[in-house]
């Protein structure tokens, strides 16, 4: 096989199939900001990883914890139990148990909040931007004072706070459109290290910031801005071997 001579030729912009709307998930904004080229490969072009790539251990643990907490909220009689309801692999079980203990200290059910579902998909179409914004919210709570809280579980040690995270802005926007007459907050339930919550009260400024981030993101997609931004994330990138800018073109760390 021969290499193609022009490796840096322009890439096409995102072209939706049957209508002009783009579908933008909350996590896309940070993913695109981290490396537009990786985003283009994964989302715009849909290139599968040429080889199976081991999932980062922290990502695996995060999924297992989310699954466990979701099951606990579906079975309130088992919510406070010690034994795990899911069956995580043995090497992750202890960490999942630690996350559950942290969650039990932070769960709003203790404050008589009402649970409105977990893993909830929220979707809003912004006609003027021709975009459908989507997010999966880990849990929606209604507090006795009427505040609607969109809660996300964060299991990584270096997890951001909501005011540092574009995804939280998107959650805020979706909360505003789904519960337009209610006070809102976006809460990150940080389960690693010192369990704590970090909150973002949703105000008009929050919504303005969300719309600015979203508008910039959508413009980048429509203009096809896909430059590579190499960094430490290259070592977990599916395209590390074939991306001309990769900093980690060798084997994956085991």
């Amino acid at each position: 096989m021969t290499a193609h001579p022009s490796d840096d030729e322009p890439r096409p912009a995102m072209t939706p199939r049957s209508h002009p709307d783009l579908a933008v998930w909350a996590g896309h904004l940070d993913e695109h900001r981290r490396c537009p080229r990786q985003f283009s490969n994964r989302i715009a072009l849909g290139i599968p990883s040429p080889e199976p790539v081991p999932e980062a251990p922290a990502a695996s643990l995060g999924k297992l914890t989310h699954r466990e907490l979701e099951q606990r909220h579906e079975r309130w009689d088992a919510h406070d139990g010690v034994a795990l309801l899911s069956e995580p692999p043995a090497h992750h079980a202890q960490a999942v148990e630690a996350h559950v203990r942290a969650h039990l200290a932070l769960c709003p059910a203790e404050d008589d909040a009402r649970y409105h579902g977990g893993e909830r998909v929220l979707a809003t179409r912004l006609h003027d931007l021709q975009v459908v914004v989507l997010a999966i919210v880990d849990a929606v709570w209604e507090h006795p004072d009427g505040v609607i809280e969109l809660r996300d579980y964060k299991t990584g040690a270096g997890a951001p706070t909501p005011d540092q995270d574009a995804a939280a802005l998107v959650h805020a926007l979706l909360g505003r459109t789904h519960w337009p007459d209610r006070q809102l907050r976006v809460t990150y339930e940080r389960l690693a290290d010192e369990p704590t919550t970090a909150e973002l009260a949703v105000t008009g400024d929050t919504i303005d910031a969300a719309l600015s981030a979203l508008t910039a993101h959508v413009a980048a997609l429509r203009e096809g801005r896909w430059e590579a931004r190499p960094g430490t994330h290259c070592q977990w990138c599916d395209y590390r071997r074939s991306c001309p800018s990769s900093l980690a073109p060798g084997e994956h760390p085991s």
Partner: protein, 246 residues
């Protein structure tokens, strides 16, 4: 092009994900003529290269791997896509040389869109490769860059291939990242059961005025009817900046 509702693998998958999407697809929503999406360029190129390699191997009397050495990715693919192309075609060639079956290019023509027995809808089975085995049994090979779904025999592509062929078949899911092959065999009784089940599901939605509720999920971003889904809130950025939403 026929105007009958068309059941594709996407439609069939939707029946297990979101009742509203399935209902609307069966009733003709979201139908697109031509597909401009750039993202089909890579799988299309891999399939074509593997078909060509089979054809050249049989014409030249060489191995599929030998023929695949001459495969070149289309020039408009990106470096990442060309890397994936090279890996996939080489992996497939090794798989092909290790398996039985003879290739006949015209066998793809046995998978046109098929009208259902009721004449109310047609099924479309995308088929990557067809190989002939002894006693004229056909093997359909799917060239995939992902693991096989479990159980493979229930996957929408397998079901539609079996119904379109109108004969027993072996279906081989080839994961071209690893060379792993998973097989399912469908005999005549299986086909009849699958056909009856499809008929029941489609006829339960076709022409029915009452729409079911949507089931939002990770599949929403690929949904053809998302814009008009009742689970979606409609507003504008301008309205949100002004402090409200509809």
């Amino acid at each position: 092009m026929s105007e009958l509702p068309r059941i594709t693998p996407t439609t069939l998958r939707a029946s297990q994900q979101c009742a509203l999407r399935f209902h609307r697809l069966v009733n003709g929503a979201g139908r697109v003529r031509g597909d401009p999406r750039r993202r089909f360029a890579l799988p299309g190129a891999i399939t074509q290269a593997c078909r060509d390699a089979h054809q050249h191997a049989q014409a030249q009397g060489c191995s599929v791997a030998g023929a695949a050495d001459h495969a070149h990715p289309p020039e408009d693919l990106t470096p990442e896509e060309r890397h994936a192309f090279a890996h996939a075609v080489a992996t497939y060639a090794a798989v092909a040389d290790a398996r039985e079956g003879t290739y006949h290019a015209e066998d793809h023509e046995r998978f046109p869109n098929q009208e259902s027995s009721t004449g109310r809808f047609e099924i479309m089975a995308p088929v990557d490769l067809v190989l002939r085995h002894r006693e004229d049994r056909r093997e359909v090979r799917e060239l995939a860059l992902r693991e096989a779904p479990e159980p493979l025999a229930d996957s929408s592509r397998v079901v539609l291939a079996a119904l379109a062929l109108r004969a027993p078949l072996t279906y081989a899911h080839c994961d071209l990242r690893t060379g792993t092959v998973v097989e399912a065999t469908l005999e005549e009784p299986d086909r009849r059961t699958l056909g009856a089940d499809l008929q029941r599901r489609v006829m339960g939605a076709l022409g029915v005025a009452q729409e079911p509720s949507p089931t939002p999920g990770r599949w929403c971003s690929g949904c053809e009817v998302l814009r008009t889904c009742p689970a979606v809130v409609h507003t504008t950025a301008e309205e949100l900046r002004a402090g409200g939403s509809t």
